[in-house]
Amino acid sequence: MKKKKLAGAFLSLTLAAGVLAGCSGSGSSEKSSGDGDTIKIGVNLELSGGVASYGQSIAEGLELATAEINKEGIDGKKIKLIKVDNKSEASEATSGAIKLTSQDQVAAIVGAATSTNSIAQVQIAQDNKVPVISPSGTSPEITFSKDKLNDYIFRTSFIDPFQGTVAANFATKEIKAKSAAIYIDSASDYSKGLAAAFKEQFEKNGGKIVAEEAYIAKDTDFRSTLTRLKSAKPDFIFLPGYYEEAGLIVKQARETGLDVPFMGGDGWDSPKLVEIAGAKALNNTFITNHYSSGDPDEKIQNFVSAFKAKYKDKSPDAFNALGYDTGYFLADAIKRAGSADSEKIKEALEKTADLELVTGTFTLDEKHNPIKSATILEFKEGKQVFNTKINP
């Protein structure tokens, strides 16, 4: 009974707080987003729900960037973040976007973390002519769907097929592989997208694909296929998949005596990978990722130390870095636009070129995807070690 009362009190308090916050929000929104000395930026992220860890990491990075930008301000104006929690659901992302554009009249929106929730905002943004930047949505369809450019939508991360291209260039230039095998998860669009891009670029580089094999997610026995791959004698194996199967495949490959380098994408990035494969088996394997905190680049090291200072010595992950970069990506456009007008910000974002940020040097292509470098990480005794940066 007591618990219920407490919960009730808590609920009414939160409700009251929400109403108050709403009031103050609508109070200041009488002015348009360009007036005054603040620039309102909407944040539509997964702060709770299934993929809350992505949304929260992005928010941390974005808040750090905003705090840094606000020290000087943009032409004397300060950025104000208005956060909306989309609860990791597409419908909530849509209603969040409606609130931000109509009620708060923000200049631009940052979010969402996943492709699905980003796509849910596309129509609202297009109708209201408010630019939306997805920090980590990797599906090509966010910015370009049905043969049409969603011209108000941008992203900070690279798209899925890009990782395949980078991996192919790495295989040719750094590993000096002449032949490669591809082993994909036939149930995953992510895996297939990376593999198709890898194949195209590797063959363009003069390499030869000697074997193509597939598995289905949740398989556990890969030894027979690996034995087959071994007899094809590739110099290099591209394995775009998720960590559960990738870990098993690498482990079983080493047991089968297949000692060539393996490479995967950001789907490998999980501590479980090391547990499953074992630290030794992972030697001589590589992944493409958005960024590495071990990159000696000064810009990155400054970010890492600033982040650690703000968040109790926590080492920033890729989502923190993407959130941070989104803040600067947007601030740069506002600066160049010379105004907080949504239309002008959109035009400035489109002209972004050679902008140096933590996750790479940004130049926007005609499909609103950043052309930027990818980081290659190598596993050494179970630790991710920065190997190199590859430009597309």
Binding site: D221, L248, G278
Partner: protein
């Protein structure tokens, strides 16, 4: 050489199928029930082994024994709670109950610990690699095969030499007549579930060590494959389950070796359909008229 390598891959996989298939076949032989929850007992065995190794810090043999014991008790529990009250019900009722028990175990387990996978430690058994004429044999596959064979021999001795084995054979032949001869049918059936489940538990630990990754739904597919293996060898026949398991493992390896890895699971079930159409009594079964 590649072919021999593939045969070795297939036999390792097949030993695990065979161990699970033994439980299916024993239970079917005695109560004419396809115990679909058997694959989940295998999963529970795998987790018991995992916790014995990581939390209790035990080595392979004690972990194997603990897992077998826990699974034996678990099997008896399932039988007493879910199947015994239905002993005189229709066979379809018992079959549906078995499916229900299977889902209950799977999702109950997910409720208790979540669905995330767990990784067995990599150093439970030594992983030496032997190279014999270009064929690389992992010491683990040899040990796994060895453990499987030893357990099967012990089982054969229990069934043919011990008193309980004699009772089991009598009950499977004719439960009513056995009862008239003074055999405690209920206890005999429980013993069968205990032995079959213990073997599934052993298979679970072996699976974990060989394949590293375990998760609450891991029993579904191996369970179904073991069922195919049991039917392939002739359901109810113990040597048939062993041969069926090994054969199915080898068939799967060869399908992958031929480059059709995506067809591997499909082929296993095509085997089931073909065997049911053309040889419903299985490879080792006698041709006697009986409705299945």
């Amino acid at each position: 050489m590649e072919l021999i390598q593939q045969l070795i891959n297939g036999i390792s996989l097949g030993s695990i199928y065979a161990l699970i298939a033994l439980g299916y076949t024993m239970v079917y032989g005695i109560v004419k029930l396809i115990n679909f929850a058997h694959g989940d007992v295998f999963m529970v065995g795998s987790f018991v082994g995992f916790y014995s190794i990581t939390v209790l810090d035990l080595s392979f043999i004690p972990a194997l024994l603990i897992s077998m014991t826990v699974c034996a008790l678990f099997g008896v529990l399932i039988e007493r709670i879910a199947y015994k009250p239905l002993r005189n019900a229709t066979r379809i009722a018992a079959l549906i109950t078995a499916i229900g028990v299977s889902l209950l175990i799977e999702y109950g387990f997910i409720y208790l610990r979540g669905a995330q996978p767990e990784a067995y430690p990599n150093d439970v058994l030594p992983t030496e690699k032997f190279n014999i004429f270009g064929v690389s044999i992992n010491s683990q596959s040899v040990l796994i095969f060895g453990v499987a064979v030893v357990l099967m021999i012990i089982l054969q001795i229990i069934v043919h030499k011990s008193k309980i084995g004699k009772a089991m054979r009598a009950v499977s032949f004719d439960a009513d007549a056995a009862k008239l001869m003074g055999i405690n049918v209920d206890n005999t059936i429980s013993a069968t579930f205990a032995i079959g489940s213990a073997l599934a538990g052993a298979a679970g630990v072996i699976f974990g060590i060989y394949y590293i990754k375990i998760e609450p739904l891991m029993g579904v597919l191996p369970g179904l494959k073991a069922f195919v293996a049991a039917v392939l060898g002739g359901i109810g026949i113990i040597p048939g389950a062993m041969v069926g398991g090994l054969l199915l493992g080898v068939i799967e390896a060869l399908v992958s070796a031929a480059g059709y890895s995506l067809w591997r699971d499909a082929v296993a079930f095509v085997v089931l359909i073909l065997i049911l159409i053309f040889m419903p009594q299985g490879l080792f079964g006698k041709n006697k008229k009986e409705k299945v």
